[in-house]
Amino acid sequence: MTSQAEIVFRREWGRAVAVVTRLTGDLGLAEDAVQEAFASAVGRWASAPLPSDPSGWLITVAKNHAMDRLRREARRSGKEQAAMLMLSQCDPDPPPGRIADDQLRLIFACCHPALDPGTRVALTLRTLCGLSTAEIARLFLVSEATLAQRLVRAKRKIRAAGIPFRIPADDELPGRIGGVLRVVYLVFTEGHQASTGSRVVRGELCDEAVRLARLLAGLCPEDPEVLGLLALLLLTDARRCARAGDRLVLLAEQDRSSWDHVKIDEGTRVLDRAARLRRPGPYQLQAAIAACHAAAAEPSTTDWAEIAALYAALARHEPSPVVHANRAVAVAMAEGPAAGLAILDELREDSQGGRWHLLHACRADLLRRLGRTAEAGDAYRAALALDPPPAEREFLSGRLAELDC
C-alpha cells in the first residue's frame, strides 16, 4: 500500500464501514465493500493525485460495491423490490454529523453486552479502527485464523440475534455506556502499554481511542464518567512522546517540556466540566491523578499526598491489586518508602497480586531506596520471572545490574 493511501486508510476505514453498515444493515457486507473500495484506491492513487475528497470518494465507491452485491443477490432471490427500496434511501452525500452518528451506532453494536467481552475489543479494533486481523491477532496473542474465526462468529451473532446498529435511547444509555467506555479504555491501554511487539507505545491505537472517546463525549455531554474517560485519555496521551523513545522512560525521568500541552489543557478543561456535575467515578479519579502529574512542572513539585488520596478513593470503586499498588507508590512518595512498602507487603499475600510483575517491581524499587539491597535484588528477580513486556524487562534488568548484588 502506498503511504498516502495508508494514511487515508487509517483515518477513513471506520467512517466508511459505519456509513455502509447503516445503509445495508449488514456489517460483514460493509467491511467487504470498504475493503474492495480501498483496493481500488490503492491502484488508482498510486499513479494519480488523491481525489479532492478522498473520504467521500471511498464511501461512494464502497457504497456502490455493496449495492452491486445486494442487487446481484436480490436478482437471485427475487427480492429486487426490497433492494431497490434500500437503494432509493441512500443519501449521496452524508453530512459530517451523520457520519459521527453512524460510527456511534457501530460502537454500540460492537460493544453489545450479548457479545463475548474479549471479542468486543477485537471487533471494535477491526471495524472502527481499521486494524487488520493479523495485527489484532498479534495483540491478543492468538493465531490469525483463531482471531478471524472469532470475528466471523461475532458478526454472525450480530446478524442472527438481531443486535441493532442503533444508538440506545436516553433511558437505555446509562445501562450500556459503561461497557462501551471499558472497550475504548482497553483500546487505549493496549496502545499505551503495548503488551506485544517491540514498540513501547502503539500511537495509532491511542489516537483511535481518543477519537472514539470524543464521539462518546459528544453523545453524552452530561455523563461525568464519559467526560472523565476522555480527560484521562488526553492527559495520559499527552505524555506519549516523553514516555517512549527506544525504551520505556519513567514518569520521574521524562522530559516534561516534551509533554503535549494542548492535550493537557484540553484534558484539564474536560475534567473540570466533569467535576462540576458532582458525580465522581473511577475514570474521573484516574483523570484527576493524571492531572496532578500534568500540573507538576518538576517531579519534585508533584502533590503526592493528593495523589495518594485520589488512589484511596479509586480503591473504594475498584479494590484491585493494581490500584492498591499505585496507592502504595504514592504513599511512599508522600510519607517515605517504608509506609509504601507496608501496603505492598500486604498485597503480596494476595495470590492475584503475587503473580503480577509490577507489584514486585514496585517493592524492589522501595527496598532499593531503603538500602535493603539483597531483598531488592530478590524482588527484581521475582518481577523478571513473571515475564514482563520487553520494554519493562529491559528496564528491570538494568536496575538489577545497578544493584550489584
Binding site: 443486535i163 441493532p164 442503533r166
Partner: protein, 120 residues
C-alpha cells in the same frame, strides 16, 4: 424478528411463596407485563409451565419411541415458563424481557427464532 424468552429458575434463589402479598404482587406484575406486550403487538404467545416433575422425555430410537419419566436430565435449571415475542431487534426483546418478573428471581434466556426461508 421473533424471540423465545425462557424463564429459568436459578438454584438457591427462592421467589415469593404462594399466599403472601409478595406472591400476589408478582402475579399482578406478570399480568401487567404480559398485557403491555400484547397491547404493543409484541406478544406472540406465552405461558407458565407445570413443574419439571410433571414432564416426560421422549426419544425416538430405531423408529420406536422411548419415553422416560421426568425432565431432560442435563437441564440444570428448571424452566418455569416462556414468552414468544415479535420485536424489531435484540435490544427491544431484552427491554421487554426485563419487565417479566422471572428476571428478578431467576434468569431469562432470550434467543432468536430462526427464520425459515419459505416463511420470510
Amino acid at each position: 424478528m421473533r424471540y423465545l424468552c425462557l424463564l429459568i429458575g436459578e438454584p438457591g434463589i427462592e421467589g415469593p411463596v404462594p399466599g403472601t402479598p409478595e406472591f400476589a404482587q408478582m402475579l399482578s406484575d406478570y399480568e401487567s407485563a404480559t398485557r403491555a406486550m400484547a397491547a404493543d403487538g409484541a406478544l406472540v404467545d406465552s405461558g407458565p409451565l407445570q413443574p419439571p416433575s410433571s414432564a416426560a422425555t421422549l426419544r425416538v430410537r430405531d423408529g420406536r419411541p422411548v419415553v422416560t419419566d421426568g425432565p431432560f436430565a442435563e437441564l440444570k435449571e428448571q424452566i418455569g415458563g416462556y414468552y414468544v415475542l415479535e420485536c424489531a431487534d435484540l435490544d427491544e426483546a431484552l427491554r421487554r424481557a426485563a419487565t417479566i418478573p422471572a428476571a428478578r428471581y431467576g434468569a431469562i434466556e432470550v434467543r432468536p427464532l430462526m427464520v425459515m426461508p419459505d416463511r420470510a
